[in-house]
Assembly symmetry: C2
Amino acid sequence: MIYLDNAATTFPKPESVYIAMDKANREHAVNAGRGSYRAAREANRIITETKQLLRDLIKVDINAAVVLAPSITIALNQIINGLDMRKGSVIYVSPYEHNAVARTVNKVALEKGIVVKEIPIDEQTLAIDLEKMKYEFSKDRPEFVFCTHVSNVTGYILPVQDIFAEAKKYGAITILDSAQSLGLIEIRASVINADIIAFAGHKTLYGPLGIGGFINISGIPLSTFITGGTGSDSLNLKMPDGAETHYEAASSNIVAIYGLYAALKTLNISENRSNEMMITRHLVKELNNIPRIKMFLPNEENHTGIISFIFDGMSSADLGQILDEDFDIAVRTGYHCAPFIHKYLKDESSLGTVRVGIGKFTTMHDVDCLVSALKELANE
Amino acid sequence: MIYLDNAATTFPKPESVYIAMDKANREHAVNAGRGSYRAAREANRIITETKQLLRDLIKVDINAAVVLAPSITIALNQIINGLDMRKGSVIYVSPYEHNAVARTVNKVALEKGIVVKEIPIDEQTLAIDLEKMKYEFSKDRPEFVFCTHVSNVTGYILPVQDIFAEAKKYGAITILDSAQSLGLIEIRASVINADIIAFAGHKTLYGPLGIGGFINISGIPLSTFITGGTGSDSLNLKMPDGAETHYEAASSNIVAIYGLYAALKTLNISENRSNEMMITRHLVKELNNIPRIKMFLPNEENHTGIISFIFDGMSSADLGQILDEDFDIAVRTGYHCAPFIHKYLKDESSLGTVRVGIGKFTTMHDVDCLVSALKELANE
């Protein structure tokens, strides 16, 4: 299989991740922090160190709470349901949000009577229209601003620093979805102006499925959303206090955490980024020569290794199926869990896009096979 | 390490679980059901088969919805927050509930104004007092009844069949927490009268951390609690319909699911149960001969491999620490995330109990080492 669905989950992972997980399963998979015995303390130590590696990654100190969750989806549910939004609160979301944000914001909006507004984009370039956004902010002052760092549909790197800086002029709380960026793009918390950064272990960080979370940089209070055992303060019918413990119910998935720890230990952001961009540029150039293909491309400097396109005369689903069955190439087709952006892509007649997700293990040969397949199909 | 904390998480797991997970990591860890390519379909097939094995286990047909979640805690949050409870609704919980139920019920009760009542127990035997319960039910008719199948503190098997049968006379909705029973005790859905059974992968099923869920046997409607991408119906800002899909946001943890699949394939309930009880009976007999030990024992026929005790003259925390440091024996001490039962155990002066959790891999030698250590300490 030629795997080009790295935007869904990166695959494979570094060998050290597999080794760490198997070893953790066999030697350390006990209930971290809930037992007073050495193995439980050792498991707990890895959790503490993993959290520190995450803090180091975005250059924050020990005061930033790192909450681990089974997925970034759960983390975003905790954040969005936990924020102090009230009837009439104005929140902005980017048009590139994933359903982990979009559906959750929609649910909370219906429950609480919140006003949800979309950050405007330029319909030609598909880039955020910062000037128009500033005007919108001045008209309807933002209280909460949610922004994905990188579109999982087009690979567009959003100008989150500018968006959040403007939001901060109004005292808004800013939340970054870094699912497609952390580990691929340098994020410095002090520069980016995010109060909370949600992250996924299994995408650009090259960790395993089953672990994600959020970093509450500014210590934004979040009301309780998920409750359960914490291995501490058991007689208390509320979740115990604590910027991290309060949000960490249930047994920690220590096997996935060992995997994430190993991934963070070997992470090389600049190498991952440059390799991905070299292959992406090559692929873009080649796809540009295939007449039936229309790509949705951001400017090169604001682009990661995700390319979405439509293919004239064939639905994306059909093309994906042919690439799989006849060429053993795995791409993703459809709407990619991003509900807003397709009205600008105008890709509904193709049933969404074909998405190519490049990863650190993608080779020139992989994308050349794709190009060759698409050329063959374009000439039929 | 002599591991006697199997009630927290069973350890080790069968070798086939480790092999399946490593293989899944290396070969199958793609986004199940979200791609149209073969590897994604193969991952999806294992999810479908795992769900069928779970249905087979409790003898229900394909109409029972099996919802997978990252943990039983998340599953119980989805159930308890999703049930149609309203101001004044009367719900009963057993005094043996874990905080995954107790804290979640408490949160929902505060939000919605629900009346929470405890199913009564006989304070001498610590068994459910069915006659008193019947009277309570007749006085305050139950609308929802939550019951753990096996106490994670004392190993007591609750008479859930009788409790739920009585609850059903009032048309109550019945929810079973099978964290400490599924895979160890035969559960036949048609007999036990549970509408919903929540389960944990990593305890008596001998699967990995990171996977749990619930089986909605009666198709009880649950409102949306967790939202996110489903890889389907992406333009819909609500979770798509479907008795399972509606509750399964985020990328499936396919590695953990492969592990659970392998665990279910090798599960031998009667063997696990008989082995555990042989060792448990032996340990109980030995501990009975140690004067400073007071066990909290249910009747033998209603007991699994969990034994809680206090040790005269020493706090449970101290005893746990000595067992770890001087004897390399891992037990669990404290309140075990079960907030209600300790008022009946009256163990607060010992800071909770010392809990021994026997598992399928526990040997006579393991428990003899514990007995020998405790004898030594009792004679000091």
